[in-house]
Symmetry: C2
Subunit: 329 residues, 2 copies
């Protein structure tokens, strides 16, 4: 075989997945370890071990020379310099880490580092739901809300890589406080955390409606109660969908995409959100912009992170590009 | 002289300006005519005449061969095809016009057509306040609010050219209705029209505050009353600034720019808006993103439209690019 292969690494709060990924999106080898709770140094050591194992495996499988390493991690990433500026509270001491430089020094491979949602967008864009689309917005609805934007076939990074913080678009300047310090963010209404918080807030003001422990309410409860027809839960989901619709129209006005791809745990479990959102969006905003957008569900499952992370090597490695691999156009 | 020269045309609701523009931003010749009120056919005829005069003038000045024609016009422009999709209500019958194709057919010159705010952004980006910045957002505050975005040195167009409709970003899903059909848009709070409408709305509900004709109130009145210390006018401007701050933070979260350039009639007359906005923005949103943005006033005056329009020829004309003119990087 002479297909390009590189190493993809997906760093999450609970686990780190590393694998050998082909240009066609095949995962030839995959290893998962729990994210070290000791933080930084221990995680860097884990990464080194995972890469060693990948290299060994590539050798055993007689694969061609690996093109490099691509890493996706939660948090705000300085893409140009490959630095984790501020990570997630789920990973200890995961801030101000010159990850690109450190990995290149430790392994000798050219390395790229980007935000976890951005690398998922690369996978969807080159191999998944957004294949063939040049202008795409990705929204992942889970514990939080993540965003990524493809413009003219390329990831939109902005000045240092902080662009597309779409979960923190406010749709109500008088709205509820968000974790980020801002008000009325999409994430404060329509993420798992947001939905649970809004339900708690309502029930604290109307304690007669609920006799359980309000603090233990989750988004899952709210979806279940709404499915059972409970009006108070339905009103919370209606608010979440309204906020999501306004946020999505703002995004469409800003980026003029032809496709919006929705993914994440909430979408996986509640497919109806996509068509409901589409209907709401079509009745709002500037017609020429909102009518020219399609909506799709993300195609990739768990492997999006590893595949998308690895894809950075194929896209940004000059050597691979010269040989005619698909580069960003 | 051997500097590149092209024709720039700025089509507005009241006048059309055409000129000969150099790569350095010099305007060697300029002609202004009132926009024909008969609409489409008459305007196309005016454009043809203006171009003929420019060509004649270039000949008389012994200028090098003109590189092409760049046009900026209000409305939604399909940039790729050079079609005016929906124009402004200020220009009669200015919709669905294949302007690029039509001008190329009539004149023989390669022609580019873009939105008026986008071409102003080109002028500011290559020759004005944003020179040297790669990631910039432009906001023009006038009768309406216009937006343009430069990402990695290039105008962000989106799928067909409708991106950066930043005046129609909602900051309150329960806010006032906007002309565009959406709710809580920046334009509904902080444009000239928006400020006047919010004042009218308030005074209609509190008629004892004002004994003039409420329908005749303009934004100019509101600014003047606020300067005189009248609380009801100050509260309208405070609301406008709050909405503008939330909209700007949303924009920063979406695009991660290093610079925001503000222009338009309202900014020209009320410089204090820039520092007031900067102060408000710095206290909102995600710190790493809002703290890394500078704010500047637009550098160009009236000629931004003609110069920026002409600049399209320098940027998009392959012939010029091969000779080493600054192309978009």
């Amino acid at each position: 075989m002479n297909e390009h292969v590189s190493i993809g690494i997906d760093i999450g709060g609970t686990k780190i997945v590393a694998g050998l990924v082909t240009l066609g999106g095949g995962v030839l080898y995959k290893q998962t370890v729990p994210t070290a709770t000791e933080g930084r140094e221990q995680i860097l050591f884990q990464l080194q071990q995972l890469i060693k194992d990948c290299v060994k495996e590539a050798h055993q499988q007689r694969l061609p020379t690996l093109k490099g390493i691509g890493i996706g991690t939660a948090g705000q990433i300085d893409f140009k310099q490959g630095i984790v500026r501020s990570g997630t509270s789920n990973i200890k001491d995961w801030n101000d880490i010159p990850l690109k430089q450190e990995m290149q020094r430790l392994t000798g491979f050219p390395t790229w580092v980007d935000n976890d949602v951005n690398v998922v967008a690369l996978a969807e864009s080159h191999l998944g739901a957004a294949k063939g689309y040049d202008n795409v917005v990705f929204l992942t609805l889970g514990t939080g809300i993540g965003g990524a934007v493809i413009q003219e076939g390329r990831l939109l990074h902005g000045e240092w890589g902080g662009a597309a913080e779409l979960g923190h678009m406010s749709v109500d300047r008088n709205g509820p406080a968000c974790n980020c310090g801002y008000k009325g963010c999409l994430e404060a209404y329509a993420s798992g955390t947001g939905i649970a918080n809004r339900m708690k807030h309502m029930l604290k003001n109307q304690p007669e409606r609920y006799d359980g422990d309000i603090e233990n309410i989750t988004a899952r409860d709210v979806f279940q109660w709404a499915a059972e027809g409970k009006p108070f839960a339905k009103s919370i989901l209606d608010e979440a969908m309204d906020a999501l619709a306004y946020g999505t129209v703002n995004i469409i006005h800003a980026f003029n995409p032809s496709l919006i791809v929705l993914g994440g745990g909430i979408i996986d479990q509640h497919n109806w959100i996509i068509s409901d959102l589409e209907n709401r969006v079509r009745s709002l905003g500037i017609s020429s912009l909102v009518q020219s957008v399609s909506f799709k569900k993300a195609a990739f499952g768990d492997e999006a992170g590893v595949v998308g992370a690895a894809y950075q090597s194929f896209l940004y490695n000059e050597f691979v590009q010269k040989e005619g691999a698909p580069h960003e156009t």
